[in-house]
């Protein structure tokens, strides 16, 4: 385990950095769509896949901070695991929530048919979001860190 530790540090840190990048992109997209909706040139970097959602951006940023920040505590196993655990927990939680939302929207489309409304909803857009995509490695990290913690008790 000793030998694999630095690898773990690097992986977690990289994941954290990706989270931070996507968080800032999301925030950027939000600012663009809210304050400069007419400026076509500025609009969205991959607007389809990075929705302008400030709330999600906060969660992504927090997750990123925790994962990337954990490396700051690389000297102390407990502190390191603590940050990784909470960070990946948040990342996985938002993944689960987003998946629940997708299921909810799918059911909702069925219900709206009762009204005779045909709702178009983009499953692809709902799933190809950074919170979902990044949630998967996050869940793996969570699984690993929980196992790491279990070893002790």
């Amino acid at each position: 385990m000793r030998r694999s530790a630095p690898l773990m540090h690097i992986a977690v840190c990289a994941l954290g950095a990706i989270y931070l990048i996507f968080a800032s992109l999301m925030l950027y997209n939000w600012i663009i769509t809210v304050f400069f909706p007419t400026a076509k040139l500025l609009y969205s970097i991959c607007g389809v896949f990075i929705p302008p959602d400030p709330g999600s951006a906060i969660v992504l940023a927090t997750t990123g901070m925790l994962l990337a920040g954990s490396v700051y505590y690389h000297y102390d196993r407990y502190k390191f695991i603590s940050c990784v655990l909470v960070g990946s927990l948040l990342g996985s939680a938002i993944l689960v929530l987003q998946l629940l939302t997708v299921i909810a929207n799918a059911i909702d489309a069925q219900i709206l048919m009762l009204y005779g409304e045909i709702v178009e909803y983009g499953l692809k857009e709902e799933i190809m979001r950074p919170d979902v995509l990044l949630g998967i490695p996050s869940a793996i990290v969570l699984y690993n860190s929980v196992r790491e913690l279990r070893k002790q008790w």
Binding site: L66, L85, V86, A93, L100, T101, W153
Partner: protein, 686 residues
């Protein structure tokens, strides 16, 4: 006397006492199979709860007391618990101990034994004690305390049957030997002296344990002094007490009250030292490890924000299908059935436009509310709330509140009424008053329907952000008002708070659901009574006017509606709201919203002639501009607490402060709405 009434008269009473967060409510649920709120943060049970259990084919009453550390008259919770024990004279007091923190729990046990209560000890959370690396010698503890001790793990149901058995035994064989702590020769001598005076009033001695009374008098316990004052020999007793206190404080050179408390604690410490042995050293428990990040200086607040966002996402996005289903059921299905029936026109309109539209437009928010409560209950059971209180204290302190205020403020997101009751757990009176007074500013679930309807009409793309901004505005105003109240009305420094940090626990689905149900019940009850009445009233006032009955056509014809009572009320108040540019219907809705804020939506639905929730936004987009709609949302957020909240404020703080809350909120609402318009127009917003 018949057998039955005799049995009723002698009904067995069992009280549950324990420190906060020790699992009392879980044991309560286990014993009674009943329902009490169970939360993993201190101070969930703010009022005593009563349930039933069966002992030897007899009904016994189980009272769940608030969580307390001792039996002083210091905080309201403690007084409630103590009075319940003094007045109700329970046959058995089940004292629940936290096995992972036995010495702090024993303080209460000792206080109970000193009172002469018939105690059965449940040693709860032994699993956590083991996890922390120590074992408790139960036999030794039983010996030292002289009362039955049952080890339990309440959330897993371990030891509950044994506990029931011990309770039964204790009911039959009343009276355990009272515990006597030696407080040192000087104190004991004075206690003897006070007892000898107390003995002159046999009534007093009969009612209370005399040694306990003497000790409490030495401790300058206000409540006990009040009780003694009613005695005929009161002046004699109090004179002796005063003399004793003076002698003792001179001899000991310190405050006698603190001295006694410390002695008691020392005793608890000795007992715990004798029966707890450390099996192995545990450097850090999983809870401690997780806490490092959760309570981190930098990460703490982003984590709180993330969790809040997730709560709202869960409550709104995930609950959408249920919302639409309920809406379809009322606005399309039931509405059409009634409208196409062969009933007379008035009855049809009454049922469809009044009752169904009214109830439907409220019940449509039930899923949102249930989901929000599920999330809050999960956080409570997980143990996150106490951490949030710690993180937030530094900020709250700056604004004249304490970290503990966060609990009522978060409950307030659900409903302000239980939130205001929950302020009882705050020890400092000024803190308590301020927290309760600003609580109506926290946007409760009843206001959510209003935001959602308006947001759906004007801010489709940013629904979430706009709704969130209302919550933030509410919090911001609450903080500013708190600061103002602190500066002007409740001066003096805050004493802060102390709270145990519970270990994290996996929430039990059953407990979460029970709690969610308890909280939702209130909403449903309101929907069935107040709101139903109010919508019917609105309907009635819309189809009648100063000229008498107008007819149900009024609901579809704006010119007719203007002549109704609702039109009259709205129009009279319209000049007041001239700058905001709201039409009279919106103003009339505000008027009815005083009963409960949900009614604003159902009133608007009736007044704008919308068939259900889906249609209302379309109607609204014609009546408002986005700016005036936003100002309207802010106004609804702030203006007057609903009737139930006012009643709660009156109950907790008195009529004077309830009126203060009413007045400041109306003024503040008007100012904020005006400010939004005044700032918005020059910015080019419409």
């Amino acid at each position: 006397m018949s057998e039955l009434s005799k049995a009723k008269h002698n009904r067995i009473k069992i009280a549950l006492a324990g420190t906060p967060n020790v699992g009392k409510s879980v044991i309560f649920n286990n014993l009674t199979g009943g329902r009490a709120w169970v939360g993993n943060w201190p101070g969930t049970t703010v009022e005593k709860k009563v349930g039933k259990m069966r002992i030897d084919r007899q009904d016994a009453e189980v009272i769940d007391l608030p969580g307390i550390y001792s039996l002083t008259a210091y905080s309201l919770d403690e007084l409630i618990a103590r009075n319940a024990i003094i007045e109700e004279k329970p046959d058995v007091v089940v004292n629940i101990l936290n096995a992972s923190n036995i010495e702090r729990s024993l303080y209460l046990t000792i206080s109970l034994l000193e009172m002469g209560a018939n105690v059965v000890v449940a040693l709860n959370m032994i699993d956590i004690a083991r996890e922390r690396g120590y074992e408790i010698d139960v036999r030794k503890l039983r010996e030292l305390l002289g009362v039955p001790v049952v080890p339990t793990i309440a959330i897993k149901g371990v030891g509950i049957d044994e506990l029931k058995e011990e309770i039964k035994k204790a009911c039959r064989g009343r009276k355990t030997p009272e515990l006597i702590i030696n407080y040192g020769d000087e104190v004991e001598r004075e206690i003897e002296k006070i007892i000898s005076v107390l003995e002159k009033d046999p009534a007093l001695i009969k009612k209370y344990n005399k040694r306990w009374l003497a000790i409490k008098l030495l401790e300058k316990d206000e409540d006990v002094i009040e009780r003694v004052r009613k005695s005929q020999v009161a002046s004699m007793i109090l004179k002796q007490v005063e003399k004793s206190i003076k002698t003792l404080e001179e001899a000991l050179g310190r405050d006698i009250e603190e001295y006694i408390a410390e002695k008691r604690y020392e005793y608890a410490f000795r007992i715990s030292n004798e029966c707890v042995k450390v099996v192995r050293e545990v450097p850090q428990t999983p809870s401690d490890i997780i806490d490092f990040a959760i309570t981190h200086k930098v990460f703490g607040i982003p984590i709180i924000l993330s969790i809040l966002y997730m709560a709202f996402k869960f409550a709104f996005d995930v609950a959408t299908p249920l919302v639409d289903l309920i809406d379809w059921f009322f606005a399309a299905f039931l509405y059409d059935i009634v409208k196409s029936s062969t009933l007379p026109e008035v009855v049809k309109s009454f049922l469809a436009d009044g009752v169904i539209t009214g109830i439907g437009s409220i019940l449509v928010f039930l899923p949102n509310i249930v989901f929000l409560f599920i999330f809050i209950s999960l956080l409570e059971d997980l143990g996150y709330m106490a951490r949030a209180a710690f993180i937030i204290d530094k900020i709250m302190h700056r604004w004249g509140l304490t970290g503990k205020s966060i609990i009522p403020l978060i409950i307030g997101i659900g409903c302000n009424v239980p939130a205001i009751i929950a302020t009882r757990a705050i020890e400092d009176e000024n803190d308590r008053n301020v927290t309760a007074l600003v609580n109506p500013l926290v946007s409760c679930s009843a206001r959510l329907p209003v935001y959602l309807v308006i947001a759906a009409a004007f801010f489709v793309a940013y629904r979430g952000v706009v709704v969130l901004s209302m919550y933030l505005l509410g919090m911001l105003l609450a903080i500013m008002m708190a600061l103002l109240l602190r500066k002007c009305v409740f001066r003096g420094p805050s004493t802060g708070f102390i709270m145990e940090l519970p270990p994290y626990m996996t929430p039990l689905p059953k407990n979460v659901l029970i709690k969610t149900w308890e909280r939702t019940k209130r909403f449903l009850f309101k929907a069935g009574t107040v709101i139903l009445l109010a919508t019917v009233l609105v309907w009635a006032l819309s189809v009648t006017g100063p000229s008498g009955y107008i007819g149900t056509e009024a609901l579809e014809d704006p010119t007719l509606l203007e002549k109704s009572w609702v039109g009259v009320i709205g129009k009279t108040m319209q000049p007041l709201f001239y700058p905001m540019g709201w039409d009279w219907r919106a103003i009339a809705a505000l008027f009815f919203g005083f009963m409960a804020k949900e009614i604003v939506v159902s009133t608007m639905a009736v007044l704008y002639g919308a068939a259900g929730e889906e249609e209302l936004p379309k109607m609204l987009s014609m009546a408002f501009t986005p700016l005036s709609a936003y100002a309207y949302m802010a106004f609804v957020l702030i203006y007057v607490p609903c009737l139930a909240t006012l009643a709660a404020l009156r109950g907790e703080l008195g009529l004077k402060y309830a009126i203060l809350a009413l007045i400041y909120e109306i003024l503040l609402a008007y100012l904020v709405a005006l400010a939004i318009i005044c700032i918005g127009i020059p910015l080019g917003l419409k």
